[in-house]
C-alpha cells in the first residue's frame, strides 16, 4: 500500500512554516540595487531573441520525385516521433501498474497495453506514409525535434519511480491533449494539400486519440474521487 503524497505533512517550503524567519526575510528584502530598472532585463533577453538561425532544417528528401510538400514531411515526422515516444511512455505506465497495482476506477494493465499498441500502430502507419511521400522515417525533422524538447518534462515525470500511476496519468494527460490538437492540425494540413486519402487515415487516428484522452480523463476523475473520499474518512468529525 503506497502512501498518498497529500497524507504526509513534511514539506518545508513556504514562509508560513516559520513566521519569525519569514519576518527576518522580509526585513532583508528591503535592500535592493538603486537606480536599476526591470526594463534592462527585458532588453537583454530581447537582444538574445533576435537574429537567430533556425534550430534545425529539413534533411534532403530520400526520394525527391515523391516529395509533394516539405511542410507535410516535417509535420509527419513530428507525429511519428511523438507516437514513438508515446509507446515508451505507456510502457512505463504499464511498469508502474505492474509494480504498484491499479486504483479503483483506474486503468487495467490491458487498458494501458491497448493504448500502447495504438501508439505503435500510429507510428507504423506514419513510417509507411513518410516513406511513400519521399521522406526518411528515421530522420529527425525540425518539428520532431521540437516535440522532443516539449515532452522532456513529461518523460522525466513518468520515468520517476516516485511518481505514482495516477500522477503518471496526469502527465500523460498533457501528452494526450497535445496529441489530439496535433492530429487535428495535421488533418487540416492534408486537407489543404488536397490529400483526402491521408485525411481519412488521420481522422481514424484522431478518433483513437480522442478515445485515449477520454479514458485518461475518466481515470483521473476516479483518482480524485477516491482521494476525496479517503480524505473525508481521515477527518475526525468535530475535531
Amino acid at each position: 500500500m503506497t502512501i498518498a503524497s497529500t497524507m504526509l505533512k513534511r514539506n518545508r517550503t513556504g514562509v508560513a512554516r516559520d513566521p519569525d524567519m519569514a519576518k527576518d526575510m522580509m526585513k532583508g528584502s528591503k535592500h535592493t540595487i538603486d537606480g536599476t530598472d526591470r526594463q534592462e532585463f527585458v532588453d537583454a533577453r530581447l537582444e538574445g531573441m533576435r537574429h537567430n538561425p533556425p534550430a534545425a532544417t529539413m534533411p534532403p528528401p530520400a526520394h525527391l520525385d515523391k516529395v509533394r510538400s516539405s511542410l507535410l514531411l516535417d509535420k509527419l515526422g513530428e507525429r511519428l516521433a511523438f507516437e514513438r515516444a508515446g509507446v515508451r511512455l505507456y510502457e512505463t505506465l504499464m511498469l508502474k501498474h505492474d509494480a504498484t497495482g491499479g486504483f479503483p476506477g483506474g486503468p487495467s494493465r490491458a487498458d494501458l497495453e491497448e493504448i500502447r499498441e495504438d501508439e505503435l500502430s500510429h507510428f507504423a502507419m506514419l513510417e509507411g506514409i513518410v516513406g511513400r511521400y519521399g521522406g526518411d522515417p528515421t530522420a529527425v525533422t525540425p518539428s520532431a525535434n521540437l516535440v522532443g524538447v516539449e515532452t522532456k518534462g513529461i518523460c522525466a515525470a513518468i520515468n520517476d519511480p516516485r511518481i505514482s500511476l495516477a500522477e503518471g496519468l496526469h502527465a500523460i494527460l498533457v501528452a494526450e491533449l497535445a496529441d489530439n490538437a496535433a492530429w487535428e492540425q495535421l488533418i487540416e494540413l492534408v486537407e489543404q494539400l488536397g490529400q483526402e486519402e491521408l485525411a481519412d487515415e488521420f481522422r481514424e487516428a484522431l478518433e483513437t486519440e480522442q478515445d485515449h484522452l477520454a479514458r485518461v480523463r475518466t481515470w483521473l476523475a476516479a483518482d480524485i474521487a477516491g482521494r476525496v473520499q479517503a480524505e473525508a474518512d481521515e477527518v475526525v468529525p468535530g475535531a
Partner: protein
C-alpha cells in the same frame, strides 16, 4: 598547413580579451551540423577543462608566487575559452544525446590516436580503453531507445557503429589492474605526450560530465547506468594519467599542456567544415600559441632551461576527424576478450582482486547488462521492427477485406 611553432608567437596574453556576448555565441545546430563538429566541441571542452584542472593543481602545489600568478593569469583565459567552446552545445541537445556525443569522441578520437602512437605498449593501452568506451555507446544507445524512444544514430550520423564491445559489466577491475607503465619523458616522441594528454583530458571530462548529469535522470535504470559507466570512466582516468611520466617538472608539464592545446586546436582547424566554428578554432589556436610562448619564457626564467628541447619546430599530423569504423572493427575482432593484469594487457587471466571486486559490484545485478538485454540497434529504434510487424498485419487486413 604547417605551423612553425617557434616563430608563430600567436596572440599576446594582453590581447586575449572577451565579452559576455561573444563568450555566449549562437550554438551549433544539433541536427544540421556535422557530427564531427560536435565531437570537436566536446573534446575541446575536455582539453580546456584539463588545462584548468592542471593549473589549479600547480597553483596548490607551488610556493613560487610568480608561478602561481602566471598560472592564474593563463587559467582565467583558459576558463573563458572553455566556456565559449562548451556553450556552443545547443539547449535542445539533451544530456543523453550529449552523452552519445561524448562516447563518439572517446571512440573516434582514441581510434585515431591509437593508430599513430609510436610506442606499441601505449597503442595497446589506447586500443584497450577504446573497446570499453565502444561498449558504453551500445548501452547508452539502448537506454535512449528504450526510455526516450529516440535513435542514437541521429547524433552519430552513421559514422560510428552501435554494437557491443568489451561488456561494461566486465570492465570493473581492481585499481592495481588500472595502473600502466609511464612513458619516459626523455625518450618519448612528442606525439606520445600529446596523445596521452588528449585522451586523459577527454576521459576526465567524460567522468565529470556523467557525475554531473547522472542524478538529473528520473528513470532508475538510467541513474544506475550513469553510476556504473562513471565508475569505468574513473578507471580510465586512472589508466591514462598513469601513462604520463610523473618526473616531468611542473613547467615541463605546463609546456606539454599548452602544446597539446595548440595541437588540438590545429587538428580541429584542419577538419572543420563550419566556417563560424572554424573561426573559433583559428582564434584559439592563436591564443594557445600565445600561452605556449609565455610558458616557454617562464621556463627560461624560472628553470633556466631551454624549452626548445620540449617544443618541436612543427606539429605532428592532426587528429583524424573521420570515421574510424574499419580500425575499430578490426580491434574489436581481435582484442575484445583482452584483460588487464597489473600493468599488462592481453589474453591474460583476471587477477583474484579484480574478480572479487567485480563480483561484489555486480552482485545485485548489472545496469549495463539489464538496459541492453535483447536489444540491438535498428535505424529509427527497435520499435521499427515491431512497427513493421504491425504494418504487415495492416496490409494483410486490407488485402483480406
Amino acid at each position: 598547413m604547417g605551423i612553425d611553432i617557434h616563430r608563430e608567437a600567436g596572440t599576446h596574453l594582453d590581447d586575449q580579451e572577451f565579452t559576455w556576448r561573444e563568450i555566449v555565441s549562437a550554438p551549433i545546430s544539433k541536427l544540421d551540423n556535422d557530427a564531427f563538429t560536435r565531437v570537436r566541441i566536446i573534446l575541446m571542452n575536455g582539453i580546456e577543462s584539463e588545462q584548468n584542472r592542471f593549473l589549479h593543481a600547480l597553483a596548490r602545489m607551488t610556493a613560487n608566487k610568480d608561478l602561481k600568478l602566471a598560472a592564474a593569469r593563463v587559467r582565467r583565459i583558459e576558463q573563458h575559452q572553455q566556456t565559449l567552446v562548451n556553450w556552443l552545445n545547443p539547449a535542445d541537445q539533451s544530456p543523453l544525446e550529449t552523452t552519445i556525443g561524448f562516447e563518439q569522441v572517446a571512440i573516434e578520437v582514441t581510434a585515431s590516436v591509437a593508430q599513430v602512437e609510436p610506442d606499441p605498449y601505449l597503442a595497446q593501452v589506447y586500443r584497450f580503453g577504446l573497446l570499453e568506451d565502444f561498449d558504453h555507446m551500445f548501452r547508452y544507445a539502448a537506454l535512449m531507445d528504450r526510455i526516450e524512444g529516440h535513435d542514437a544514430n541521429d547524433i552519430l550520423q552513421s559514422y560510428t557503429d552501435i554494437m557491443p564491445g568489451r561488456p561494461t559489466s566486465q570492465e570493473h577491475r581492481d585499481p592495481a589492474d588500472d595502473m600502466r607503465e609511464w612513458y619516459d619523458r626523455g625518450k618519448a616522441d612528442v606525439i606520445t605526450k600529446l596523445n596521452a594528454l588528449t585522451i586523459m583530458a577527454g576521459e576526465n571530462q567524460t567522468h565529470d560530465y556523467y557525475m554531473t548529469i547522472g542524478p538529473m535522470f528520473s528513470d532508475p535504470i538510467a541513474r544506475q547506468l550513469y553510476a556504473e559507466i562513471a565508475s569505468i570512466e574513473e578507471q580510465h582516468v586512472t589508466q591514462y594519467e598513469s601513462i604520463i611520466d610523473p618526473n616531468e617538472t611542473w613547467l615541463e608539464k605546463w609546456i606539454n599542456h599548452e602544446l597539446a592545446e595548440v595541437y588540438n586546436y590545429y587538428s580541429c582547424l584542419s577538419f572543420e567544415d563550419d566556417p563560424r566554428i572554424k573561426k573559433v578554432w583559428e582564434r584559439f589556436l592563436d591564443y594557445e600559441l600565445g600561452h605556449l610562448h609565455h610558458v616557454m619564457d617562464l621556463m627560461k626564467r624560472i628553470e633556466r632551461r631551454d624549452p626548445a628541447e620540449l617544443v618541436p619546430k612543427t606539429l605532428p599530423d592532426p587528429i583524424q576527424y573521420r570515421s574510424q569504423r574499419e580500425f575499430v572493427r578490426k580491434v574489436l575482432a581481435s582484442e575484445v576478450a583482452y584483460t588487464a593484469n597489473g600493468t599488462r594487457i592481453g589474453s591474460l587471466p583476471d587477477t583474484a582482486e579484480t574478480l572479487s571486486y567485480r563480483r561484489q559490484l555486480n552482485s545485485s545485478g548489472s545496469p549495463s547488462d539489464a538496459v541492453s538485454a535483447g536489444w540491438h540497434w535498428r535505424p529509427g529504434t527497435e520499435l521499427t521492427r515491431e512497427a513493421l510487424d504491425i504494418d504487415g498485419m495492416h496490409k494483410m487486413e486490407r488485402e483480406s477485406a
